[in-house]
């Protein structure tokens, strides 16, 4: 799972930095679920940590695109199944962009990406009332180099699980 090891470390660091902030639905909140332990740990399939790590909480996008790839669809099928069987949770879908773009356009692009994920999950039967979207544009990169290897990880939509189903 090298794909997720590095982002997780960063996520934990962001969580510390932002824990006093009101950006409640940031990727940061994932850190709350990251600690290894028995109930609610990644080994528990009903836990948000399992959702984040075993299913995969994020999908990636091509440059300036919001179309879901086959890999993204596979991940989202898993997300949909989990959400259907864990109705105590709602989700906020965050759309993000890499830094190669102007601030306003990237906000709009992130909104498109978050919405693409939302639409997919709704099509799979998740109530729209359980899903909110937010765009961070290029404001919250996970990877900080200025190369395609980092950009590819930053062009993402992250499904952040929050306690409390709204339906």
């Amino acid at each position: 799972m090298t794909l997720f090891a590095k982002p997780l470390l960063l996520v934990a660091a962001i969580g510390l930095a932002a824990c006093s902030g009101p950006d409640r639905f940031g990727a940061e909140s994932g850190a709350d679920f990251g600690a290894a332990g028995a109930p609610g740990s990644a080994a528990d399939p009903r836990s948000p940590a399992y959702f984040q790590q075993a299913i995969g909480d994020r999908v990636l996008f091509a440059v300036d695109q919001s179309t879901l790839s086959d890999a993204a669809r596979a991940t989202l099928e898993g997300q949909a199944r989990w959400l259907i069987s864990n109705t105590d949770y709602s989700a906020v879908i965050e759309g993000h962009a890499d830094e190669q773009g102007t601030r306003e356009y990237n906000l709009a692009l992130g909104a498109r990406r978050a919405s693409a994920v939302q639409e997919f999950l709704v099509e799979r039967g998740i109530s729209p009332a359980r899903l909110r979207t937010v765009s961070y544009g290029k404001e919250r990169p996970l990877e900080i180099c200025s190369e395609e290897s980092c950009y590819a990880q930053n062009r993402r939509a992250v499904t952040v699980i929050a306690a409390g189903g709204t339906s």
Partner: protein, 443 residues
């Protein structure tokens, strides 16, 4: 024989007391035309202003330095070092020894005096065309509190700049921006305001929530910006005097961003995203009434009004890539104006109405550029890894923007450049900064 001095209040000065004198000199040697680009900066001498009371000495020195820095900072003027001076100016009213200033090749001479009474400063100055051996405009006097000493200096510099270039000044203005701290993946941002030259930084918000892209109202007393205070991007209105703020648009399931004031100060145009689609709306600040201006599945954002309030320039990817469009302020058919290579975004109409500044992406580089309002005569002024977000100086002759460096340690800073592409400068600030928004000239 010296011309008689007229001591006028600022209002009178702006009302045109200097204009006739300037027009009379239009064909004379002491003239800079900014459109033509300046190869050789105009040399000026600015002997330290005379302190008319002993307590004023410190202010006289500092005010003189700020005036000289304002002028030299434009790239249009060059300060002749005081060591080169032959003449000594010990009294504001003593006759000008033109030969002494000609000998050191000073084309403009600025003399002045500063008096202090209680906490009230009075600054008077005169501008001379050395080679014509004549004053350029009348003497003027400005008054203010000691706390505002830098503003008094900027007002003098604005007068000098205006008389020689024929353009309005811009030194007595402020810039609202986003002050940034922390690593690239967890940046904390807060709104701040500074003098145009980076002095007097004050913070307008704390850094608890992400804030983006502030814009100053036409009267300079309010700021509109995007904040994540609610967890979602929303546009907020901040009263600068009271530092109170309120959310302007809070429709659940939507995001609002990229706001900008109309010239009337009462209407705001902004982007609203719903269901992944971003369109343009206006909001009347008094009534809260919202109107939709665009309705297409493409991204419409970064709107900016023409100074007469009749048109809006914005960016849209309806053609497949980001391009610039102009439409009537009430909505209606947009006309595409950008046709060059690459992508165009963040258009901003010049306060003079003649140009539109924009960000351009082409071949992996970012540029700040200007074009005529019909899209013709495109000119790129800068190039770097990431330049974006131009804002106009009140006189429409200088642009400030964000330049961000590449890599893990990359950080943004504010830069300025004039519309001929000359005089690229970094605004001196302590920390990282982005999204500058230039205020109108202060009252």
């Amino acid at each position: 024989m010296m011309r008689r001095l007229f001591f006028l209040c600022l209002a009178l000065a702006i009302a045109g007391a200097t204009t006739p004198a300037f027009q009379a000199r239009a064909q004379g040697p002491l003239r800079i035309v900014i459109d033509e680009g300046v190869i050789e900066p105009l040399p000026f001498a600015l002997p330290e202003f005379v302190a008319e009371t002993p307590a004023a000495a410190q202010y006289a020195r500092q005010i003189s330095q700020v005036i000289a820095a304002d002028l030299a900072g434009t790239g249009l003027f060059r300060e002749i070092p005081q060591e080169a001076f032959i003449a000594r100016v010990t009294s504001f009213s003593s006759p000008v020894q033109y030969a002494d200033w000609k000998a050191i090749n000073a084309q403009a001479l600025i003399t002045g005096a500063v008096a202090l009474s209680g906490d009230r400063l009075t600054v008077k100055f005169r501008l001379f065309d050395v080679f014509s051996e004549a004053p350029l405009g009348d003497g003027l006097q400005f008054g203010g509190s000691t706390a505002a000493w830098r503003r008094l200096a900027h007002k003098v510099a604005d007068q000098v700049y205006g008389r020689i270039t024929g353009e309005g000044g811009y030194f007595d203005s402020r810039v609202v921006f986003v002050a940034e701290t922390g690593p690239k993946n967890a940046r904390a941002k807060r709104l701040a305001i500074m003098d145009y030259d980076g002095a007097n930084v004050q913070y307008l918000t704390d850094s608890a929530s992400l804030v983006l892209a502030p814009r100053v109202s036409p009267t300079g007393d309010r700021v509109i910006y995007t904040s994540y205070e609610t967890g979602f991007p929303r546009i907020f209105l901040l009263d600068m005097a009271r530092l109170t703020r309120r959310a302007l648009d809070d429709q659940p399931g939507t995001m609002s961003f990229s706001p900008r004031f109309a010239p009337n100060g009462q209407t705001v145009v902004f982007s609203l995203s719903q269901g992944g689609n971003t369109d343009l709306y206006t909001l009347d600040l008094a009534s809260g009434r919202r109107e939709r201006l665009s309705s297409s599945p493409s991204i419409e954002t970064a709107p900016s009004y023409s100074p007469d309030g009749r048109q809006i320039v914005f960016e849209s990817d309806r053609s497949g890539t980001q391009q610039l469009y102009v439409m009537p302020a009430s909505g209606g058919a947009p006309k595409r104006i950008s046709y060059g290579q690459g992508r165009y975004g963040t258009p901003v109409w010049s306060p003079r109405g003649d140009l539109i500044a924009f960000t351009k992406q082409n071949n992996g580089r970012f540029h700040i550029g200007v074009m005529r309002t019909d899209g013709s005569e495109e000119r790129l002024l800068t190039a770097s890894f990431l330049d974006e977000g131009p804002t106009w100086a009140p006189n429409g002759r200088v642009i400030m923007f964000t330049r961000e460096t590449a890599g893990a340690g990359g950080a943004p800073a504010l830069f300025s450049v004039d519309i001929t592409g000359r005089n690229l400068r970094r605004v001196p600030l302590q920390g990282a900064a982005s999204d500058p928004a230039w205020s109108p000239l202060l009252p």
